[in-house]
């Protein structure tokens, strides 16, 4: 196990280094007038020159990269060219917001998806058809439409939740829960179906395996067979889907975060990329890369723990 985790983390470091080099040099194609953008579109050449010198884009690209990489290795990811905020602070504070949404969504998806999938696989018939219909419906409704509907119903008409904004848990835990509920639900509805389908399919496969028939013929209660054996064997694909969902949500929650005016990683990534704010984009890529490597490693470890038949190799 330790050797597996070490190898995965070492591969991850290589992956992140490659990602950093590629991202930095690809970004050069889109930032030709970044100093003009920072100074303002009506700014004259004098003001633009001041900005170019200040942010260092008047130097050769390779020198810029060497400087950035040297600082990054010491943990200094620099400052945003536009806001002046430290990149580490900007990315980590927003990562915390997005991670809270992603974790909330993954937990909710796991609870509902596994329950519905197990229900469909064990009861079949109308329950199965009902779950499958809801799964397809959930996946078919666009996230932004779901978000708008949730706001109109639960924030504006019923007044149960705030329509926009984010409250930090350090300020108020109930306020924080209220502020992330609708965004989490909006992010979750589309993904429940995928997990439910995976669990359903894996469980139906497992039900037809010889070992399940053997367990049943030995008189084990159906509840015990389902919970201790079938569901455990079916958990692998569901964990993979949940791990993927978490990773996708880190960068993919941008629409929901924007609609709810939540200061997460999505809007920061969108803004910094369109502006050509290289330090921030690089910071997002590095931090997200680290999280993705850790989450994937964790998913593999959990898979092995849930199902010892899975060998870490």
């Amino acid at each position: 196990m330790l050797s597996f985790v070490s190898r995965r983390l070492a591969t991850g470091v290589g992956l992140i280094a490659t990602l950093a080099v590629l991202t930095f040099f690809f970004l050069q194609f889109g930032v030709s007038d970044v100093a003009q953008r920072i100074a303002g579109q009506q700014a004259g050449p004098d003001a633009v020159a001041v900005v170019e010198e200040r942010i260092g884009v008047d130097r050769p690209v390779q020198v810029q990269f060497a400087d950035w990489a040297g600082s990054a290795l010491t943990g200094d990811l620099g400052r945003s060219w536009f806001s002046g905020q430290e990149v580490t602070e900007a990315v980590m504070s927003r990562m915390a917001v997005t991670v809270s949404l992603a974790v909330g969504s993954v937990v909710l998806t796991a609870l509902l998806g596994i329950t519905l999938g197990a229900l469909a696989a064990t009861r079949r018939g109308w329950s199965d058809r009902g779950v499958q219909f809801l799964a397809v419906l959930g996946q078919a409704i666009p996230g932004f439409l779901m978000a708008m509907a949730l706001v109109l119903v639960f924030a504006i008409n019923l007044d149960w939740f705030p329509a926009t904004g984010y409250t930090r848990p350090s300020e108020s835990v109930p306020g924080w829960l209220l502020s992330i509920t609708l965004p989490v639900v909006a992010l979750t509805i589309g993904s429940i179906g995928g997990v439910a389908q995976q669990v359903r399919g894996s469980m139906i496969d497992a039900f037809e395996r010889d070992y399940v028939r053997t367990l049943r013929s030995r008189g084990l209660p159906r509840r015990s067979v389902v919970l201790q054996h079938v569901l455990r064997n079916a958990a692998g694909p569901a964990l993979t889907v949940l791990g993927l969902q978490f990773v996708i949500l880190l960068g993919g929650a941008v629409i929901v975060e924007t609609l709810f005016s939540i200061p997460g990683l999505g809007p920061l990534a969108l803004t910094s990329t369109s502006q050509g704010d290289i330090p921030v984009v690089m910071g997002i890529v590095i931090v997200t890369g680290v999280v993705v490597v850790l989450v994937n490693t964790l998913v593999d470890v959990v898979q092995a723990w849930v199902n010892p038949k899975v060998r870490l190799s």
């Binding site: 007038d33 003001a47 002046g84 915390a96 974790v103 909710l108 007044d159 329509a163 924080w176």
Partner: protein
Amino acid sequence: MLRHTKLAAAAGMATLALAACSSSGADDAASPAAGGSEGTAIEGRAPELRIGAVVDISTWVAADAAWGNEATYYMAVYDSLLRTSATNEVQPGLAEAWEYNDDLTELTLDIRDGVTFTDGTPLDAQVVVDNLNRFREGASPDRGLLDAVTDVAAADDDTVVITLSAPDPALEINLSMQAGLIASPSTFDAPDAQTTPVGTGPYELDAASSTIGATYTFTANEDYWAPEDQHFDSITINYYADASALLNALRDGQVDISNLNSLTQIPDAEAAGYTTNSIPVNWKGLILADRWGANNEALADVKVRQAINYAIDREGLLQGLESGYGEPTTQIFNVEGDAYEAELEDAYPYDPEKAKALLAEAGYPDGIHITMPQTSFVPASEPELIKGVLAESNIFIDYEQAGESFFGDLLGGAWSAFAFGLNQEPLAWQTYNQAIAPGAAWNVYHQADETVEALAARIRLGGEDGAAAAKELNEYVVDQAWFAPFYRVIGAIVTADGFAITMKSGQAVSNLWDITATA
């Protein structure tokens, strides 16, 4: 404050609580009230003001500051040397008094005594000198506002003398905006200057409660030199990057006062219980830039430019593009400014036949073609509507998709004419420097005109003759059809019950001290 029902809902969310361990927790057009909303201001300070903003602040560095929609942020933490009222009358700011010498080339400022920055640093003349010089050498898009300044010097501890190369009628107004913002010297070389402002202003930024790019919280500066202008204990500015998010915030009553992304949001805001306050801000229309015919020979003929003006159905465009929120006009100068003339509001009534006749007289009986830019940030319906209106007078627009360097290309003269909106500045001199002077950014071909320059020389010296020259300049520019204005569009700010605002002429946002809580 959270409502009871919302707190109750929190109790039933045990599932979501599981996520807590993963969060580190860092961080009809006649309806708008013109000029502002009414109400009697309450005595003392109200607890809180929540402002909805449609533009984020680009930097807190005073020397690099822009203005427009960002002015609210700056007015919270900084003071300017002078102030302007809602009607643009110049008033004392950090400078208690000021006066020009006889030939208007030296402005002497008497700096207010006893003012300190929120970090405890005292304000003196040298700090003012350093701030003005930093703005002149900084990265503000508007650093040209101090172009006429040749020297800034401290005559003594509380006297600053600004020397000009030539009289600048706009200097006092410029010193009431970004060019006159005064920051603490402790921020000059501070690495966090862009995120941590230190001023003498009515409020202090509470960085710990703020999230850059989203929410900014300010608390009252208890040592403020003008406490009568602090109407709130705290102010929160929430930036809404998305129009739907802003509308939802309005519908949920999450803001007390807000700008709008679009005038089409007015009915929704009013339905949510807000009062709309409006004032004319920008003029929108065509800038007929290529008056030398460098790229489009036809535009060099004044008859062609006048034909374009006659070809514009201003009422129709106002209804079609702005839902009627504005007023048709054929002049680019501010309604309350010195150059404004009521009779120039309709100098070119819509008349396609007259437009065609003028084109024929100019040698274009079959009409003309003009290439204009089309951008992704303007709805496609807008250029199409303009194209359709002009085509009725045989003026054919060929659109060209603008690239990422749109503004650079535009200001570099890539297109001989283009649709745009420009702010209606308070003074004719400002409008001249914005779009008419040979060096003006929006005189994109930098055309010089002897008549214009003679009039500008008179405007520069001010007085009655300067005001008369401003009107003559307006008449000349309209007659020569340098522009083809469509209408003057309103700027709108919505206010919730219990809040009042006095709109500021020619500015997208009001003075912060003109926002009050009402009884």
